[in-house]
């Protein structure tokens, strides 16, 4: 037990302790449930950051406990450079979502359970990134699904939340099962579930290798919600309560990216993966354009931003598909920056929805005068998602397209670049519809809770700061490259 393993355990144990406390307190804890949850996840976030110096020293904080010795399965956790950007993003998003809940969630006797489930959702995501074994990975992977579907089921908006939670569960579970087949084949070939054994090379026949890579890509694409396996996303994002939507869109989607980086791109070499490069790039382009067009067609604020995620995940898949250092760095950066901007947009939307009680852009308008701060924050968020410099998404898109131009498919990359124009259109439509034009009759604006305003403003600043000074994050992300595709660049 050295400082590193304690830090590693704290990432999981702190939120878990908060969950236990919340379940024990139940209705007695309603008043301070938000604070307990916030403290748990803040400690977890801080613990994740304390591991960064060790990574810079070239160490890999790890922990191994015996679990099922007879089957070669162990309880292994680790933090490496591939884990770090995802872990930090996820913990930060959970922290923000919980803070936002203080202002968004109406307290009742089930409040403790609400916060406990949010924590479990976050715990599932941090566990997914920390797991160093396939069984543990899958256990946490499904924990995030179970926790988020219960949240949608119990606190979703509208009568259809039951069927939509079910659809979300079954659809994404289908993707998980494809992943599970891949995991089991690898486990079978390696005889152990440790990632290190997989990276050392597994003995599979070539036909099977292709199938496994395909299964992983499709399975993880479901979680990323790339067209055409995005079908669960718009409904789930629309119905979920806003803090859950923030966590779904800003953090959970990126777990699919993590899965692609961790499994097909880390285990197999360039030779095996190359056949999938072009399909990934084309899939990314389709998703980019489709998501943007659907965002243009929608009128519900939350659905517009939800479809924007489908579009943004297209960029990431495109970046991964380039199989170049620039493209993969860009895709990982895009995960982080998309998390910031998407959380910002949803928080701005939540601000508008809670203040006015409306969520259809045709019933809104002219709010810039009455909610100037919301207009500034959401407006800057919209500029950011459209890829305007100096906001952060500009940097990651730059890297992704630069990766595209390093491949032989220049034409495809040009089309993808032009496709990003659509983002500007829907982003502009969203902002114009809410904040400009004539104000519809009967629109009343309530004062928002401080816990809605402060995190939104902070994220706006962060989107700008990260855009101007992305060097540290670039450095973090660049360190992951030796772990991917056998480190041959």
């Amino acid at each position: 037990m050295n400082a590193q393993t304690i830090g590693l355990l704290t990432i999981l144990v702190a939120p878990f302790a908060a969950v236990v406390a919340l379940f024990l307190l139940r209705e007695r804890g309603t008043r301070f449930a938000g604070w307990i949850a916030g403290a748990g996840v803040a400690v977890s976030f801080a613990a994740a950051l304390t591991l960064v110096p060790a990574l810079y020293r070239g160490q890999t904080p790890a922990l191994t406990l015996p679990w099922i010795p007879d089957a070669g399965i162990e309880f292994r956790l680790h933090v490496d450079w591939l884990t770090l950007p995802f872990l930090v993003t996820e913990a930060a998003v959970t922290l923000i979502a919980i803070t936002y809940s203080w202002g968004y969630h109406h307290k009742d006797e089930r409040t403790s359970v609400f916060y406990a489930l949010l924590l479990l959702f976050g715990l599932g995501m941090s566990g997914t990134t920390l797991a160093d074994g396939m069984v543990l990975f899958y256990v946490f992977w499904e924990l995030m699904l179970v926790a988020s579907s219960v949240l949608i089921l119990m606190w979703g908006d509208g009568e259809r939340r039951g069927p939509i939670a079910l659809k979300y569960f079954i659809f994404t579970h289908l993707g998980s099962l494809l992943v599970l087949v891949g995991l089991i084949v690898l486990y079978d070939a390696a005889g152990t579930d440790a990632f290190s054994a997989l990276r050392a090379g597994v003995d599979l026949n070539p036909g099977l290798t292709g199938t496994i890579i395909g299964l992983f890509l499709v399975g993880f694409s479901v979680k990323m919600a790339v067209f055409p396996v995005h079908l669960w996303l718009p409904d789930a994002h629309t119905v979920a309560p806003m803090p859950v939507t923030i966590m779904l869109a800003a953090a959970m989607l990126s777990m699919g990216t993590y899965g692609i980086l961790r499994f097909p791109l880390s285990i197999f070499g360039r030779a095996e993966v190359t056949a999938f490069a072009l399909p990934m790039m084309i899939g990314g382009l389709l998703s980019e354009v489709y998501g943007a067009l659907m965002a243009l067609a929608e009128r519900d604020i939350k659905r517009i931003i939800a479809y924007s995620s489908v579009s943004q995940m297209g960029y990431i898949l495109f970046g991964l598909g380039t199989l170049t250092a620039e493209g993969i760095t860009g895709a990982t950066l895009h995960v982080v920056f998309h998390a910031i901007v998407k959380a910002l947009l949803f928080m701005g939307a939540g601000w508008v929805i809670t203040s006015t009680g409306r969520r259809d852009i045709t019933e809104l308008g002219g709010l810039a005068k009455r909610m100037p701060l919301a207009a500034i924050c959401t407006g800057l968020g919209a500029l950011a998602i459209a890829g305007m410099p100096p906001f952060c998404i500009f940097d990651s898109e730059w890297m992704i397209f630069s990766g595209g131009f390093h491949t032989a498919h220049i034409g495809l990359s040009v089309v993808t670049l032009l496709g990003s124009l659509l983002t500007v259109v829907y982003a502009a439509q969203l902002i114009m519809g809410i904040f400009f034009g004539s104000e519809p009759e009967g629109l009343t604006v309530k004062r928002p809770h401080w816990a809605i305003v402060v995190p939104t403003a902070l994220l706006t600043a962060l989107a700008l700061i990260e855009g101007i000074f992305p060097a540290m994050l670039f450095d973090w992300v660049a360190h992951e490259l030796p772990l991917i595709l056998g480190g041959q660049w």
Binding site: D70, Y138, G162
Partner: protein, 499 residues
């Protein structure tokens, strides 16, 4: 006392316990709690006296010695032999028996004829232990009849309910036809082999069975197939398991039909059927079982019938693992099948017991009536979700890790057929989500009663809460820490493969 003589002790203990409890009920007290405690005590004593047999069998496996046997081989005597598979099933049955009798202390409080309920429960488990331990076909027949007759009566225990009587009668008719087939099979086998003794699997005759034996074996397979609810002989199961008192359904679904399945495997291998052939048959049936079970479960509106069909499907998963193991000679696959058997017993018992509490306090059967459970019976909402989540294979619960073990072995032989099986298995997993999840969802939905009143939480009797919490803990423990359980079922694979 020799080592082998311990084999009979748990059987005797539970069997004599049945009569003792009956006498106590008639002569001393009819107080339900006393009877339940006494019955639980009998089961626990059986469990404790079973430990020496477990140790002896493990030793025999390690040293390659013979399994502990009780009784003589001369005609007309009872002969019982322990083996690794039987130990697993007896252990599970005695543990489940303990839980259900504690549960019954409250659950059957309003029923009449409690003086019959507990003795019948004990007799059923006596028959079960005998069925899996018997080392000759004739006594196997007697024990399986004992188990079945007790089960028929228990299914129809609430005889004021027309549907319970109907289900019990259906079970009786189909079950009797099954045992009749089995008896005919035994007669045919005896005609050719001249003995009813079942040798241990590694000493089974290696010559292919002759015509009469093959006919006899076919009869036995059909007969035991009815008892273990293989498709298409399963039609009694949803009725019986759906109409029996929930405590009894927990036993029936949790272990009774699997004891018949084990008898089927033991008899087939014991009279010289090749493991390869039996494995092939089991794989074929397993596909039918899981697909039909899951498919029909989707359209059920009655919770307990849904659980009954889920048992048909889960038995299919078990047969799939065991079948792959037997067919391709992989002991770990058989081990995985038995691991699921243990996990399923815990999950299904938990599901039925949770449903029973709901019925007991709120008097409903339909799935739609489960809406609002979370606010009225919070413990039930949690335990029922744990059970159904486990059955659906949600990690980290017991069902997930069982599936991981089975699927991990399916690909081992590298046969194309196994990939087809894997595909069917996964499709079934998805199909199954379609009925488990809506039930879980309803548990947590809030009811729109229209009157604006929120139903008050109902307090649950501690007699019911203890078995529920114990079974839920088992489901979680098996999932989170499967090591010891995995080791517990370790010997079954090598034994059934005759190694």
């Amino acid at each position: 006392m020799t080592e082998g003589s311990w084999v009979v002790v748990p059987v005797l203990c539970v069997g004599i316990g049945a009569f003792a409890v009956y006498l106590v009920a008639r002569l001393v007290t009819k107080d339900n709690r006393s009877l339940a405690t006494l019955t639980a005590g009998v089961f626990l004593t059986g469990l404790v006296t079973f430990v020496p047999t477990v140790t002896a069998t493990r030793q025999a496996l390690d040293t390659g010695g013979s399994m502990p046997v009780w009784g003589g081989e001369e005609p007309g005597s009872v002969i019982l032999r322990a083996d690794p598979g039987a130990l697993v099933i007896v252990g599970v049955a005695l543990a489940l028996g303990t839980l259900t009798s504690i549960y019954s202390a409250r659950y059957v409080a309003h029923d009449r004829r409690k003086d019959l309920y507990y003795p019948l429960l004990l007799l059923m488990v006596t028959g079960l232990c005998g069925t899996v331990l018997a080392a000759d076909l004739f006594n196997l027949y007697l024990f399986i009849e004992l188990m079945s007759i007790a089960a028929y009566v228990l299914v129809a225990f609430r005889r004021y309910s027309r549907r319970a009587i109907e289900a019990g009668f259906k079970y009786l008719v189909m079950g009797s036809v099954g045992t009749l087939f089995f008896l005919a099979g035994v007669a045919l086998l005896y005609r050719e082999r001249g003995t009813v003794l079942l040798p241990p699997v590694n000493l089974a005759p290696v010559d292919p069975p002759g015509l009469w034996s093959r006919a006899g074996l076919a009869f036995c397979l059909v007969g035991l197939g009815v008892k273990s609810a293989v498709v298409p002989l399963h039609t009694w199961l949803p009725d019986a398991h759906g109409r029996a008192p929930s405590s009894i359904s927990a036993m029936l679904s949790g272990i009774i039909i699997h004891s018949a399945l084990y008898a089927l495997i033991k008899v087939s291998l014991g009279v010289g059927m090749s493991a390869r052939a039996l494995g092939g048959i089991l794989m074929g049936i397993s596909v039918a079982n899981m697909t039909l079970g899951n498919g029909v479960a989707l359209i059920q509106s009655d919770t307990k019938r849904l659980l009954g069909y889920s048992t048909v499907a889960q038995t299919g998963y078990m047969m799939f693992g065991i079948g792959i193991g037997l067919h391709y000679g992989i002991p770990e696959a058989i081990q995985a099948g038995f691991f699921l058997l243990v996990a399923h017993a815990a999950m299904k018992a938990l599901a039925f017991l949770s449903k029973g509490v709901h019925r007991f306090y709120l008097d409903t059967n339909k799935i739609d009536d489960l809406v609002g459970t979370a606010s009225q019976l919070p413990l039930i909402a949690v335990t029922f979700s744990v059970a159904l989540g486990g059955l659906a294979g949600v990690p980290p619960l017991a069902g997930f890790i069982s599936k991981w073990f089975i699927l991990g072995q399916v690909l081992e032989p590298g046969e194309p057929l196994a990939y087809v099986g894997l595909g069917i298995f996964l499709l079934n997993t998805i199909l199954a989500l379609g009925y488990y999840l809506p039930v879980v969802a309803r548990l947590f939905m809030t009811a729109d009663s229209g009157t604006g009143e929120t139903p008050m939480p109902v307090g649950i009797s501690v007699w019911m809460a203890i078995p529920l919490v114990a079974a839920a803990a088992a489901v979680i423990a098996i999932g989170l820490y499967p090591g010891p359980w995995w080791t517990w079922v370790e010997g079954v694979g090598p034994y059934l493969l005759g190694r």
